[in-house]
């Protein structure tokens, strides 16, 4: 376990030394800044219009506006977290193989699985806290301005973290098997496929097409990231908004029903299987 933690710490130090951490933090600060500025501007525009008409603030519309804004912000946070999970991990193992640094590491008294697990842990400990911080900054920042907080923010964040963990683990598997470039392309395509599958499923729900719904369902079992976001979005909508979405049906960006426990468990088991496969694949390789 000592060696696993050593490799995990090493991944962190590399991210810091390569200025990855600084770059991400700075850009995130810009993003959160813009977002909160926009939230503030919206509130003021509501207040101005209300006072110009000599009325009270319209409670329902304001709630919907604020909730939608948080929902959009979290959608982007989830997207950024997914990208981070993929792009910080594509070179985790393949980079060491491509550059040849692996040749001075593996002859050391370290098991190959310890190396891969260390990389997994290191990158996970980079991405997950980032997502938590970003989500908290968005949701609680908006609350400080508007007073609105989604009904169950922590449940939503938990599902987003599960999604990022899955994507990161799948990327790691790619990285133990393929070159960095190929891993990046494959992962991005798979991620997009999950996304497209979700949209196809929504269209199926809207038009009542069973085939399309089925395609969406199958894709959600293979690449669960989109489905997990829909599940997360349920916890970010006030009851009233959710009912409207439910009637409208088929919004391709948000869900209206909580995920089944079985599905969430499946994603957990699936992630563990992918991780085990990555450890096994790396064990078999020649360098």
């Amino acid at each position: 376990m000592r060696k696993v933690l050593l490799v995990a710490r090493f991944a962190w130090r590399e991210a810091v030394a390569r200025r990855l951490v600084v770059a991400i933090l700075l850009l995130t600060l810009v993003f959160v800044g813009f977002y909160l500025y926009g939230t503030n501007a919206l509130l003021h525009s509501f207040q101005r219009r209300a006072s110009a008409l000599g009325r009270e603030l319209p409670g329902q519309s304001l709630l919907f506006a604020n909730a939608t804004l948080v929902l959009m912000g979290m959608y982007i946070a989830n997207f950024l977290g997914s990208l981070m999970a993929i792009f910080t991990t594509i070179a985790a193992v393949s980079g060491e193989v491509d550059s040849g640094t692996i040749q001075s590491v593996l002859p050391k008294p370290i098991r190959r699985w310890e190396f891969v697990l260390g990389k997994w842990l290191g990158h996970l400990s980079l991405v997950l806290p980032y997502m938590v911080l970003l989500s908290l900054a968005l949701m609680y920042g908006a609350q400080a301005i508007t007073g609105y907080l989604p009904p169950q923010p922590w449940n939503a964040v938990a599902l987003m973290l599960l999604s990022a963990t899955f994507l990161l683990t799948l990327t790691l598997l790619g990285s133990t098997l393929l070159s960095t470039l190929t891993t990046g392309v494959v992962l991005f395509m798979l991620y997009s496929l999950g996304w497209a599958g979700g949209i196809v499923g929504s269209v199926g729900a809207l038009t009542g097409s069973l085939t399309l719904k089925r395609i969406g369902e199958i894709s959600s079992y293979i690449i669960p990231s989109d489905m997990l976001w829909r599940g997360a979005s349920v916890y970010l909508q006030p009851e009233a908004l959710r009912q409207i979405q439910n009637v409208a049906r088929g919004n391709p960006f948000v869900g209206t029903e909580p995920l089944a426990t079985g599905y969430v468990l499946w994603v957990g088991v699936y992630s563990v299987l992918v991780l085990l496969l990555a450890l096994w694949v790396f064990r078999q390789r020649d360098f």
């Binding site: 692996i102 040749q103 002859p107 008294p109």
Partner: protein
């Protein structure tokens, strides 16, 4: 005397990459404390063999042991060091961070590392440069820090794959001195090198591989022809000189005033000089030469190729 455990022992080691054998059938034994030269033309399977011994590549068949233990034993890996041929390291680290990281990979304690890092930096001539990033190092310095990494854990067995490929003549001499130093401490050194003159200077024993098999192995004295040859240059070759020389040596080649002689022993050299003077000739040059490792290498590899 009990037979000590060999540092390296392989039996019929074989590696096939996609149907093409890189190492055909390799059996060799390296004794502890030896400086062992592993020679062969490009593509002979030298690097693949080293990678198998280090656990980087899985053998297709055959067996190998290091210090009597299987290759995947962590205990053995703790006692081994390796300088890869393509020495590429994590160049965003400083030299010192790099050594600390590798020391921790070896499982060395922090206090021990603090003592050992300046020692190895001194040995490879990088003391004072350890706070700089490896990215800024010259190729030679990178090879030196790689060597420091390979001997950091006071290994019992070190694999050096072309350890002087990026070094200037002074650097090469320093590496020879480090190898000598390791030998004094009883470390076994497995040296992969193209530089035959260097192997001749440093190795106790060599194995020459070609097409994935050992074609010859043994001590340098045993491998190289003990017969002494000498080049002789005089002002002119007259029959009296020729007959006088024939009495002492065999003339194997004559090219004008230049002769190549094969002598029974080294003490025949002064007699050759004397014979030239007695025959009234003028001696311009008399140079003894032994068969070099290069001659042997070329002969063996060319024989294998035909």
């Amino acid at each position: 005397m009990p037979t000590p455990i060999p540092a390296i022992q392989t039996q019929h080691l074989r590696k096939v990459f996609r149907g093409r054998p890189a190492v055909e059938d390799l059996s060799l034994e390296v004794a502890q404390g030896e400086v062992f030269g592993f020679l062969g033309p490009n593509g002979a399977g030298k690097s693949t063999t080293v990678k198998m011994l280090l656990g980087l590549t899985h053998p297709t068949s055959g067996r190998a042991q290091i210090l009597g233990q299987p290759l995947d034993s962590l205990g053995i890996k703790r006692q081994m060091g390796f300088l890869p041929e393509l020495f590429r390291f994590h160049d965003w680290m400083t030299g010192r961070e790099f050594l600390r990281f590798h020391g921790q990979l070896y499982g060395m304690e922090s206090a021990d590392l603090e003592r050992r890092i300046p020692e190895v930096l001194g040995l490879v001539g990088l003391l004072g440069r350890e706070q700089e990033r490896i990215k800024g190092y010259s190729k030679g310095m990178q090879q030196r820090i790689g060597l420091a990494q390979a001997i950091l854990n006071r290994p019992r067995l070190v694999f050096l794959d072309e350890p002087t490929s990026a070094l200037d003549p002074i650097g090469r001499r320093e590496v020879r001195e480090i190898i000598g130093h390791l030998k004094e401490q009883g470390t076994t050194v497995f040296l992969n090198s193209h530089l035959l003159s260097e192997v001749e200077l440093t190795c106790d024993r060599v194995a020459i591989v070609n097409r994935g098999r050992v074609v010859k192995s043994g001590t340098l004295e045993a491998l190289l022809n003990p017969k002494l040859e000498a080049d002789l240059r005089v002002d002119k070759v007259i029959p009296a000189l020729q007959s006088a020389l024939s009495a002492i040596a065999r003339i194997t080649e004559q090219n004008g005033e230049r002769l190549t002689l094969e002598l029974p022993a080294e003490d025949a050299l002064p007699a050759v000089a004397e014979a030239v003077i007695r025959a009234g000739g003028k001696l311009y040059a008399l140079t003894p030469r032994r068969e070099s490792l290069e001659d042997l290498f070329v002969t063996l590899v060319e024989k294998g190729a035909s």
